[in-house]
């Protein structure tokens, strides 16, 4: 039983150790590196065609193509959190005890062992030294503590920045706090996309991670999508003018731009992408030289009779650029109740031999196009948590790094004739600036005594 207890204690110590933290930092870094070298978020089909079945099976099993959401990576983050909590619980009580422990009296022999100290014999009465020094220290630092001392002795301590010793715990807590925010976001939020053709209204958001649709409790209508360019052809602005509808009534008109999203009831819409859509195409179908020829007006996605045949025809897809050959329209034909067949018709290459359907050569004569806007749609209740965590982290870093915890000791005793003084200083951050501050303080004290001495 004792053995078991010891083991648990051992494990607890290890879990809270700095070595474990170092190990986790390095393993996490290595994990992140692997994640940037192997393309992430590929579909299983892409993985197999890219790596071949053997490698692909390993990649999928080890979740390396979705590494940052894999079980292993999450486990590492959880371990880092546990490490932090254990470390805090193990160290905080010690730090608090250490910092609560105040000096009760000053021992001049000890003070002279400080790296920063000065011993001075002052040709001035003890009472004068006493009032002068106290006044000066109070002026310089505000608060001065008196320690127990006999009547012919003065023991003063000035302490600054004790609180900054706790800030490292605040840093660590802020990291945990950010983790909590991220967790809240992944549990109670969603991130998806919404592609809206100009004029279209919808409340459906596609969630790529889950490969599922969700419905918003309100509708979004894209009134207009607008893209403008600089003279040199690079894009200048993307803008979607949208209306939010509640029960079919407009609730909000707004423009969404890159870097300028809108929020409605906790759901935020960002301008993410855009593309062209085909509304209508007019195409000519011709059989051989001087053979049968007819033209059709084909609204996108609508099935029409194919000339005088018993077939149906439909424009099923459109792309702005088909493998570098420019815009193309996918047209399919089928007999009622049978599998459709079809092909891509290249619009800018009317003579391309593949522009052919059911033996007809197809030429796209005219198209009516519009834009669709790609909106990123997000709800993340963790964001305020994460943002406050960021602020706390930065404040914590700054104060831990740059606010020193420092103490000045002043000891004076009546001697014959005059007074013996020992000044010493200590800081948790040794720095040249602190050394200078100490020397400056000593010089000011000496100056004050000198002046009083001369006045006499």
């Amino acid at each position: 039983m004792k053995d078991f207890h010891e083991r648990v204690l051992w494990l607890w110590k290890k879990l809270g150790s700095l070595r474990f933290a170092l190990f986790l930092f390095i393993i996490l870094a290595v994990g992140c590196i692997i994640g940037t070298l192997v393309p992430q978020g590929l579909s299983e089909r892409e993985i197999f065609s890219r790596y071949g079945p053997r490698t692909a099976r390993w990649l999928v099993t080890l979740q390396i193509t979705d590494l940052y959401h894999s079980l292993g990576f999450r486990a590492l983050l959880v371990l880092l959190g546990v490490n932090l909590i254990a470390c805090t619980l193990q160290r905080l009580p010690k730090t608090m005890a250490l910092l609560r422990d105040r000096d009760e009296f000053l021992d001049p022999a000890k003070l002279t062992k400080y790296a920063l100290h000065r011993v001075m014999d002052v040709p001035l009465e003890f009472s004068k030294v006493r009032s002068l020094s106290e006044g000066l220290l109070r002026n310089a630092f505000g608060q001065v503590q008196h320690l127990h001392a006999p009547a012919d002795t003065l023991s003063l301590v000035v302490e600054k920045g004790r609180w900054s010793r706790y800030m490292v715990y605040i840093i660590h807590l802020s990291v945990l706090w950010i983790f909590v925010g991220a967790l809240a976001g992944s549990l109670y939020g969603f991130k998806g996309v919404m592609n809206l053709v100009e004029g279209e209204t919808s409340n459906e958001v596609f969630i790529p991670r889950k490969r599922a649709m969700i419905a918003l409790p309100f509708q979004v209508r894209c009134n207009d999508f607008h893209v403008s360019f600089y003279e040199n052809g690079t894009p200048k602005e993307f803008r979607s003018d949208v209306t939010i509808l509640e029960n079919d009534l407009p609730a909000l008109h707004a423009s969404i731009r890159v870097n300028d999203p809108i929020s409605y009831h906790g759901v935020t819409f960002y301008q993410a992408s855009y593309g062209a859509v085909l509304k209508k195409a007019r195409a000519a179908f011709a059989k051989g030289e001087g053979g049968e020829r007819f033209e059709l007006e084909l609204p996108f996605g609508e099935a029409l009779p194919f000339g005088s045949t018993d077939l149906k025809v439909q424009v099923v897809d459109f792309t702005e650029d088909f493998s570098g050959f420019g815009p193309a329209v996918a047209i399919a034909t089928w007999k009622e109740g049978e599998q459709p067949t079809g092909s891509w018709i290249l619009m800018n290459h009317p003579d391309f031999h593949g522009n052919r359907i059911q033996g007809y050569h197809v030429t796209v004569l005219e198209t009516e196009r519009g834009y669709y806007t790609g909106l990123q749609v997000k709800r993340d209740p963790g964001v305020p948590v994460v943002l406050t965590g960021f602020v706390i982290l930065l404040v914590g870093l700054f104060t831990t790094f740059y606010v020193p915890h420092k103490k000045f000791y002043f000891w004076a005793q009546k001697s014959n004739p005059g007074t013996t003084v020992v000044v010493a200083a200590w800081s948790n951050k040794k720095s040249l600036a602190f050394e200078k501050e100490f020397q400056h303080l000593c010089d000011r004290l000496a100056d004050a005594w000198d002046r009083r001495n001369e006045e006499k």
Binding site: L22, F25, A29, K378, V383
Partner: protein, 282 residues
Amino acid sequence: MNSSILLGVTTFAYLLATTLYLAGITFHKPKWLTWGTLCAIGTLLVQTAGIVLRWKESYDLGFGHAPLSNLYESLVFGSWVLVLIYVIFEKKIGHRALGFVPSGIAFLAMAYASFSPGVVSKIQPLVPALKSNWLIAHVVTCFMGYAAFAISFGLSVAYLWRRKKAERPLSLSTNSLIPGSRELDEFNYQMVLFGFFWLSIGIITGSVWANSAWGSYWSWDPKETWSLITWLIYAAVLHARAVRGWRGPRVAWLSVAGFCSVLFTYFGVNFLLSGLHSYATK
């Protein structure tokens, strides 16, 4: 007078500063090191004028923006911050012997920016993704961090070199101009603290920006991820100092690894991996 002339002069003046610094420690001439510093400060002023002028020129072209928007401009700004931080640091610590590292890196960055055919130095309008006040905050803070890490790299290499020398105490060429290994370790720590603080702000401003522009404060984009890797390495440096057996050379090696990670974050990601930040290759 236009900004490209000033920035061209800057490139060669940094080469001169590097040469002076290098000659100073090679031939044990403290005086030359002082000239190196003067040259670096003078160059910094010319470069400042060049950057300000470029800023103004972009307004004259009708699409004014801070000169931080593409690879060329970030290289120029990066070398500027590096030398600025170094000069202040040099004044604080009172050692000039390692000046050739920052001035050398600044020269290489400027030379690469000016002469590589892959780097476009023309002033271009901002693409919509970069039109944000966060751009300046993000780029400036990241480069403060990177610059500090570059100096930390120099200090760590000097530290490792010192330690190696110390193993063979009989070797004659102990260079008295270079600080001792304890001092180097302390300076390195100061630089890592400074860099870590600014890199943290850099990552956080980037994250807040991404949140307001794309709706996601973290999306594991390669650049983002590599800056996290850098951050983790330097977090390891900070913590390693508190672990027995990890002080000294291991901390120095970790700092070297950290700077390699900085370089990869900056160059490697642009050229080898793709992602949100790939505009920077243009």
